[in-house]
C-alpha cells in the first residue's frame, strides 16, 4: 500500500513538473493570438483578451512566410525521401547481410553525423556560389541528404537488427527470391522503424539552421531563417514572431503525438545499439 501511495505522489509531481516545463511553449501559442497591446502589457495577461489571428495574417503578408513554409516542406520532404531510398539498402546490408566489418562500416558512417557544421558549411558556400546555387532549394536538399544519411542508416540498422534472425532463411525455404524476401517479409516487419527513421530525418532537417543561414538569403530561405529575419528587422514584433514560431513548431508537435510510442524506442535505438 505504502508503495502505491509513494508512486502516486511521484506521478503527481511528474505531472506538475511537465506542466511547468511546457509553460514556454504554451506562452508562444498564447502570444501568437494576443492583440499587440496585450502582448506589450507590463503585467502579463494570460487569458483575459479577445483572441485574434492578425499576427498570422501579418507573417504571411509582410514576411512572406508562405514561401518559407513551402521551401521548408520541399527541401526537407525531398531530402528525407532521398535519404530513405539510399539509407534502407545500406542499413540492410550492414545489419542483415554477411558483410565484412558490417559494424565498422556502420560506425564510420555514424561518425560523420558528429562533424561540426562550421567545418563543412564553407566548402558548400563556395561551391554553391560558384555554381550560382546560393538561395535555391537544391543546395539545401543536397546538404540535408548528406547530414540525414548517417543517422538514418544508424537508426534503421538498429531496427533491422531487432527483427528475428531467421526471416531470410524461412523465406528462402519457401522459395522466395531476394527481392521478394525484402519486399514481402522484411519491409512490412520493419515498417514502424522505417516510419520513425523518416520522421526523425524530417525533424532534424526541419529544424536545421546553420546551413540554411549560410546558403539561403531570401527566395530559398526555410522557416528558421525567415523567423530570424522578422526579429532582426523589426525588433519588437513579438506577435508576428510567435505566430511564425507556432507555424514552425506545430508540425513537430503533431509528429510527437502521432508517434508517441515509437519515439522513445527510436531515440533509444539511436543511442544504444
Amino acid at each position: 500500500m505504502r508503495s502505491t501511495m509513494y508512486s502516486r505522489m511521484l506521478f503527481g509531481l511528474a505531472i506538475v513538473l511537465v506542466f511547468i516545463w511546457l509553460v514556454p511553449v504554451m506562452w508562444v501559442v498564447l502570444t501568437s493570438v494576443k492583440p499587440t497591446n496585450i502582448i506589450n502589457s507590463a503585467v502579463p495577461i494570460f487569458f483575459d483578451f479577445a483572441p485574434t489571428l492578425d499576427h498570422y495574417v501579418e507573417v504571411f503578408e509582410r514576411f512572406r512566410f508562405g514561401r518559407s513554409m513551402l521551401n521548408s516542406f520541399v527541401t526537407v520532404g525531398v531530402s528525407t525521401l532521398i535519404v530513405m531510398i539510399i539509407a534502407l539498402p545500406a542499413a540492410y546490408a550492414v545489419a542483415r547481410m554477411n558483410l565484412m566489418h558490417g559494424d565498422t562500416w556502420a560506425l564510420v558512417i555514424l561518425s560523420l553525423r558528429f562533424m561540426p557544421g562550421m567545418v563543412i558549411v564553407l566548402p558548400y558556400f563556395k561551391i554553391a556560389t560558384f555554381l550560382n546555387l546560393i538561395d535555391t532549394q537544391i543546395v539545401l536538399i543536397v546538404v540535408y541528404v548528406a547530414f540525414g544519411l548517417p543517422f538514418a542508416v544508424w537508426i534503421l540498422r538498429g531496427f533491422l537488427l531487432d527483427l528475428p534472425k531467421d526471416i531470410e532463411e524461412a523465406g528462402r525455404l519457401d522459395g522466395l527470391s531476394w527481392i521478394q524476401i525484402i519486399f514481402r517479409l522484411i519491409m512490412p516487419m520493419a515498417a514502424p522503424g522505417i516510419a520513425v527513421t523518416a520522421i526523425f530525418t524530417f525533424v532534424f532537417s526541419w529544424n536545421e539552421f546553420l546551413f540554411a543561414l549560410f546558403l539561403t538569403l531570401d527566395k530559398g530561405s526555410t522557416m528558421p531563417v525567415a523567423l530570424q529575419k522578422t526579429i532582426d528587422l523589426y525588433n519588437v514584433l513579438w506577435g508576428s514572431l510567435s505566430a511564425g514560431a507556432v507555424l514552425q513548431l506545430l508540425p513537430m508537435i503533431l509528429v510527437v503525438f502521432l508517434l508517441q510510442k515509437h519515439i522513445a524506442r527510436g531515440l533509444a535505438l539511436g543511442a544504444v545499439k
Binding site: L149, F209, M252
Partner: protein, 309 residues
C-alpha cells in the same frame, strides 16, 4: 543431400551475398564521400589559404599562418575555454537532472505515456523558434520571467540576457530546458529494458525508491549513460543555433562559444581563417571524445580486473 554439398552451396551463396551487400552499401558510401568527405578535404585546403570573401582576387596559399594567427589571439583561447566550460557544466546538469526526471517518469500509472510524449516536445522543436521566444520571456519590461520572479520571489526586474554576469547562465538554462527531456527519455528506455527478474529480486530484497535507482539501476544502465554523455558533449561543443539566436556571443564576448565565434569570422569575410577555426573545433571534439573514451576504457578494464581478484 549430405553435409558437404550444402556447405559448398552455402559458402558460394555467402560470397554472392557479400557482393550484393557491397552493392547495397555503395550508394550511401559514394554519396557520403562526395557530400561529406570531399567538403572536409576542401575545408582543409582552405584553412591554409587567405581568401577574403569581399576581395577574392588576393586569395593565395599562406601555409600555417591562419593557425598561428589564431593561436596568438587571446580571444580565440577565451572562446575555446568558454566552450569547454559550457559543454562540461551543461552536460553535467543535463545528466543529473535528466536521471532524476527519468525516475519521476518511470511509472506504470495511467497517463504516463502521455506525460512522456508531452515532455519530449522541447527536443523536437526548433531552437530558433524557441530561442526567440525565450528572448521574449526574458525581455526586461514585459517578459514573463521578470514578472514571475518579481511577484513570486521579490527579485528586482533585470535584463538577464544583456548583462555579462547573467547572460551565460540564462543561455545554459534554456539549453538545459531543451535537452534534459532527451537525456531523461533515453535513460528511461534503458531503465525499462532492465530484466524483470532483477526488478523482482530488488523488490523481494526490499530495495525500493531512491535506493533502488542509485544502487541497482544506475550501474546497470551505465553503458547507456556513457553514450548519452558522448552525444551531448559533441552537440554542446559544436553548439551554434541557440547561442547565435539568443545572444550572438554577447554581451561583450561573455557567451561567445566556438561556433558562433567562427561565424563572426565568416561575417568579417576571412574565409581561410574561418576554415582553420572550423578544423580546430573538429579537433577539439575529437580530442574530448578521445579522452572520454580512453578513460572509459581504462576504468572498465580496472573494474574487470577488480572483479577477477
Amino acid at each position: 543431400m549430405a553435409g558437404p554439398p550444402v556447405k559448398f552451396h552455402n559458402s558460394q551463396l555467402a560470397r554472392q551475398q557479400r557482393k550484393v551487400a557491397y552493392l547495397l552499401l555503395a550508394p550511401a558510401v559514394i554519396i557520403l564521400l562526395a557530400l561529406a568527405i570531399y567538403p572536409l578535404i576542401y575545408a582543409g585546403a582552405l584553412s591554409f589559404r587567405v581568401d577574403p570573401l569581399y576581395n577574392p582576387k588576393v586569395a593565395r596559399f599562406i601555409g600555417w599562418r591562419n593557425f598561428t594567427d589564431l593561436f596568438e589571439d587571446s580571444r580565440f583561447w577565451a572562446s575555446i575555454r568558454l566552450t569547454l566550460y559550457w559543454a562540461f557544466v551543461v552536460v553535467a546538469i543535463q545528466m543529473v537532472l535528466g536521471f532524476l526526471l527519468a525516475i519521476l517518469l518511470d511509472s506504470k500509472l495511467r497517463g504516463s505515456g502521455l506525460l512522456r510524449s508531452l515532455i519530449i516536445i522541447p527536443v523536437f522543436i526548433s531552437p530558433i523558434a524557441m530561442g526567440l521566444n525565450w528572448r521574449f520571456i526574458f525581455e526586461p519590461v514585459t517578459g514573463l520571467a521578470n514578472w514571475i520572479l518579481s511577484n513570486g520571489l521579490g527579485v528586482e526586474k533585470y535584463s538577464w540576457l544583456s548583462h555579462v554576469d547573467t547572460a551565460l547562465t540564462t543561455l545554459m538554462l534554456v539549453d538545459c530546458w531543451q535537452w534534459i527531456p532527451f537525456v531523461a527519455l533515453i535513460l528511461l528506455a534503458g531503465m525499462q529494458s532492465i530484466s524483470p527478474e532483477i526488478v523482482e529480486a530488488a523488490r523481494l530484497d526490499r530495495v525500493r525508491g531512491i535506493k533502488y535507482y542509485f544502487k541497482i539501476v544506475l550501474p546497470l544502465i551505465r553503458p547507456v549513460i556513457m553514450v548519452v554523455i558522448l552525444i551531448r558533449l559533441v552537440d554542446e561543443i559544436r553548439m551554434f543555433d541557440l547561442n547565435y539566436i539568443m545572444t550572438e556571443g554577447g554581451p561583450g564576448s561573455s557567451t561567445l562559444l566556438a561556433s558562433t565565434y567562427d561565424y563572426t569570422i565568416f561575417k568579417h569575410g576571412h574565409l581561410g581563417l574561418m576554415a582553420a577555426y572550423g578544423f580546430l573545433i573538429l579537433i577539439l571534439i575529437n580530442g574530448v571524445v578521445g579522452i572520454f573514451l580512453n578513460t572509459l576504457y581504462r576504468s572498465e578494464k580496472a573494474a574487470r580486473q577488480e572483479d577477477m581478484n
